[in-house]
Structures are given as C-alpha cells and as structure tokens.
C-alpha cells in the first residue's frame, strides 16, 4: 500500500502536478495513515527515491526539482502541526546565496528538501557575507554552511565560499562546521568546489539536500 502511495506521489511530483500529489497525501490520511506516517513513510522515502532517480537520470528538469522541494516542504509543514510530539531533527544548516549574488531559486529547492528531511534550516537570504555565514552558524550551532552561487564571480570570490573557508580555518571550526556549495558554475566545472574550499557540492538542489545530510552526519554521528 505504502509503495503505491509513494509511486503515485512521485509520479505527480515528476509531472509537477501539485494538486495530484496533495490528493495522494489526503487519500493516505483518510486511509488511516498518521501525520507521522505521512512524513516518515511517504514524504521522506519519496524524496529519497527522487534523489536516487535524479542521480540515475541527471536530465530531470529544474521544474521537477522545484516541485519536489515545494510539495515536500508544504506537506511536511502541514503534517508537523499535527504531530503528537515534535520530531527529532537530524541537524541544522545555515544557507544563503553568496556575497554579491541575488539568485534564490537554488537555495529554495535545497531548503524545501532539507525541511522535509527533518533538518533545521536557517535561511540568510541572498547577498550574504562570509562573516554572516560563519557567525550565524556558530550562534545557531549549525553543522553545515551551504553557499549557493549562480554566477562565476560570486562562486569564486574571496568574499564567498573562500571567505567562509578562511574564517572557519582562522576560528578553528573546520571539524565542527562543514561547507557545501552549489549553483550553475559548479555544474560546468565539477572540480570548482575544491578550488573554493568547500567540503562538498551537488549538481542540483535535490541532490544537495542529500549531500548536506551526509555532511551533518559526519559532524554529528
């Protein structure tokens, strides 16, 4: 039964059909699944299946990534209100667009997926300085800083990921806080993440959520 829900839900997401995805969720609720079941047995496995599908089929389009995140985040938010007790969170990430970068689509996709995977997300918005990333990660006890950059100069600038890496080094935080990056320039040069001092990167927003969860687990087993 659950497999059928997951399959129908993902088919709707793949077709970027939000009403159909929500219908599957409502059907599952009326068939007796609890809000916890919806999140842990339907939404999370569906997002994980989507991650696996995207890994096998990198041609999945941006609209599908966007809807995967939006629907999962919306459903999770609604279900969380109905949970009998607050769920245990996996960890916390501070996310934002690099200094000088005003693009927000990528981080919105990543944030949506992370929320559905029970990761606390502190979204700093766009045009974020390296200092703000690191200061916030420290005050919020985050395990990961995620820096999105859609332009080459914001990806490679000393005020972006490289600046975050420098501050983490200077403050002796490299073991406690990991650095993930993403955005168009990294798709064109998959080695770029190393050159900007990051621990990991992902070619798309949905995969980025998986990469960030893996980094959180490195820091917080």
């Amino acid at each position: 039964m659950l497999d059928a829900y997951i399959q129908s839900y993902n088919q709707a997401v793949f077709e970027t059909d939000k009403p159909a995805a929500l219908e599957v969720v409502n059907q599952a609720l009326s068939d007796g699944l609890s809000p916890e079941d919806i999140v842990f047995k339907l939404v999370i496995p569906a997002v994980e299946l989507m991650m696996a599908l995207i890994e096998k089929d990198p041609d999945a389009n941006l609209a599908q990534h966007f809807m995967t995140a939006q629907i999962a985040a919306d459903v999770t938010e609604k279900m969380l209100e109905k949970f009998s007790k607050p769920p245990e969170m996996i960890g916390r990430v501070v996310i934002g667009a690099a200094y000088g970068d005003l693009h927000s689509l990528g981080k919105r996709i990543v944030s949506g997926c992370l929320k559905s995977l029970m990761v606390d997300v502190v979204d700093l918005g766009t045009n974020v300085s390296a200092e703000k990333f690191v200061d916030t990660a420290v005050t919020e006890n985050a395990q990961v800083i995620a820096v999105s950059a859609m332009m080459v100069h914001t990806a490679t600038s000393e005020k972006g990921s490289l600046g975050v890496r420098t501050l983490l080094q200077q403050r002796g935080l490299q073991q406690q806080i990991k650095l993930a990056v993403g955005g168009a320039p990294y798709r064109f040069d998959p080695e770029l993440y190393v050159k900007v001092g990051a621990d990991a990167w992902a070619p798309d927003g949905v995969t980025a959520a998986k990469v960030i969860v893996d980094l959180i687990r490195e820091v917080k087993p």
Binding site: Q64, H103, S104, L105, M151, H153, T156, P185, R187
Partner: protein
C-alpha cells in the same frame, strides 16, 4: 572573405576558408578601458570602444552590443542594478514584487524612447558604422517566457509558471511578449545582424518537453511573429536543448542553434546537419583553471566534431573575467587553426 561573408558561408554551406569564430565577452570591455563596470555600461560609446578594442586585440569574427541582461529589466522599470567589477551585473530591484504588480506593469509604447535604451542605440550605431559592413554585430533579446525571471526573480517566476494563477501568468507573458517583439524589431532596425534569442525556458533542462510544447512554444511563436526568425540564434543560457532541436525547426523555423557545453555536440550536429548552423561552445568556466594547452585541446575536440560538412560556428559561453588572457588568445588561435576548411 570578411567575417560577415564567412558567417554567411557557414550558414548556407557554401565554400569558405574556415569556420566562423565567435567570442562573447560582454563584461571584459570595462577592464579593457580600465574603468569600473558601472561607468563602462553608462555610455554606449564606452561599450562600443571596449568591444572594438578587444576585437582588434584577439581578432575573432563577431562583435557584441549587449550591455547586460538586466538592461531589459531597466527598460521595464527596474531602478537598481548591482554592478561588480569582477563579474556580471545583477538585477537588484525586482519590478514585480508581488502578483498585484503584474496588472500594473506597463510596456513602453516605444522602448527606443526610454532613457535606458540610449546606450544600446549609441553602441549599435557606432559598431554598425565602424565595422557593420564586414563583421557580424550580435545583439541579445530575452524570450517572453524567460523575461519574468529578471522582473520577479527565478523562484517566484518558476512558482507562477507552474502553479498559477494561470490567468495572471498569461497576462505577464502577454506583456513580456509585447516587449520581446518590440526589442527584436528595434535591435534589427539599429543594424544588429545576429540576434541571440535567449530562451532558457525553451530547454528541457528547465521544464519538461510537454511544458515547452504546450506553454512555452506558443509564446515564442508570438515573440517572433512580426519579424520572423531570420538571423536568430536559439540559445538557452548554456542549458542543453538537443531534445527539442527538431521541434524548434518545425515550430519556430529557427535554423541556428547555440549548443551547451553540457550537451552532446556530435548529436546536435547530426540533428541540425545541413539544415542550419550548429554553434559549438567551449566550457569557458573550466578555462579559468585550464592551461593554454588544455584550452587548445578542447577547442580542437569541438571543432573536429563540428566542422565536417561545414554549417558550424565555434563560440564560448559568457567568458568569466577570471579566465586568463592567455587562454582567451589560445582559444581564438586554436579555433582559427583547427577551423580551417579544405
């Protein structure tokens, strides 16, 4: 033969000594003139001067009139551009901040009378007068289905595009299409001989083929209705679009295609064949860290795939400012060398 004649030969498949070699460096002109980006883009004379100097220095075939993509947003009311001396200007003030703003959005009756248009007009007039008889002059126009991304932000546009309200989405698209029609006509009137039609939402990397066919295609057809598709290059912002090349031929009659470095260039050449021009682009982000030898090797690979049977042009993406000058020169030299035709 002049570069313009070489391009014409590549398009028609008639004999030529070599393939055309295009180089796209809209942001480099400021550095060439030793001035901040904001100052450089403030006058058409500066842009024309910067582009002409780079053309003389590197010796490629085309010249760019594009200032920056956000210029289109300025023509529609954007009041702030975030300039950077090490990269591309960003739109910092979205014209559409909420959906109610769509009803208020007004397309100027004549965009050529808008103050933001004057630097474009000035640069094009100079370029046409200086080298218009010998060199292709490139201009850039964003498709109606992509223009909203710079008016409201990509995530808000993706949301409206996919989830509606669809009557509001279509109202915005109609206005954007009215703008595209005007812009294309105005650029042609000023002497742009190659028009880059930028349409990322026309790539299956952005939306599904079904969405392209059902939603994007009718608006692209409308954009191009008044002036037709002559001298237009289909460009998806460096996103791959091999899967819709046939569709673009059938529905839009655009025969020139700018292929992403992430796409299979051999497949694209097979699909386009002698029906039009395959533009093979190098991954110039990798050029930041490549050596000159690595750059040459990649140019050789691309050109050898593409040049057989002619109907091929070599080009690049947006050439980041961090790419060493030696690599730019190596790219251009290698394209000339390997692009020789028997």
């Amino acid at each position: 033969m002049t570069p313009l004649e070489i391009l014409s030969s590549a398009t028609t498949g008639s004999p030529a000594p070599r393939i055309p070699v295009f180089c796209n460096m809209p942001d480099h002109g400021a550095r060439e003139l030793g001035m901040p980006a904001k100052q450089y883009f403030s006058k058409g004379e500066y842009v024309a001067d910067g582009q002409l100097r780079m053309l003389r220095r590197y010796g490629y075939d085309n010249i760019w009139s594009l200032h920056y993509v956000g210029k289109e947003a300025e023509l529609l009311g954007c009041r702030e551009i975030l300039f950077a001396d090490d990269g591309v200007p960003n739109v910092a003030d979205f014209v559409i901040k909420n959906l109610d703003d769509i009803a208020k959005l007004e397309i100027p009756a004549d965009i050529t009378q808008h103050p933001a248009w004057q630097p474009i007009a000035d640069s094009l007039r100079i370029l046409r007068s200086e080298i218009g008889a010998t060199h292709p002059i490139c201009a850039y126009a964003t498709a109606s289905t992509t223009l909203p991304a710079i008016l409201m932000g990509m995530d808000k546009w993706m949301e409206l595009f996919l989830l509606g309200p669809f009557d509001v989405r279509d109202e915005l698209l109609r206005k954007c299409s009215d703008f595209s029609q005007q812009e294309i006509a105005a650029l042609r009137a000023l002497g742009a001989s190659v028009l880059i039609y930028s349409t990322p939402f026309g790539s299956p990397y952005f939306v599904s083929r079904k969405q392209i066919e059902q939603i994007v295609m009718p608006w692209m057809r409308r954009d191009l209705l008044p002036g037709g598709s002559e001298n237009l290059i289909y460009y998806c912002g460096m996103a791959p679009f091999n899967d819709v090349i046939d569709l673009i031929f059938d529905e839009l009659h655009i025969t020139n295609h700018y292929i992403s470095p992430l796409a299979d260039i051999a497949e694209a050449k097979r699909l386009i064949n002698t029906r039009g021009l395959t533009c093979g682009a190098i991954d110039d982000i990798k050029m930041i860290h490549w050596s000159a030898e690595q750059t040459r090797a990649e140019v050789k690979r691309i050109v050898e795939i593409g040049k057989t049977g002619s109907h091929f042009l070599f080009g690049n993406g947006v050439m980041p400012l961090a790419v060493p000058e030696a690599n730019i020169q190596a790219m251009v030299d290698a394209a000339f060398e390997y692009g020789r035709l028997a």
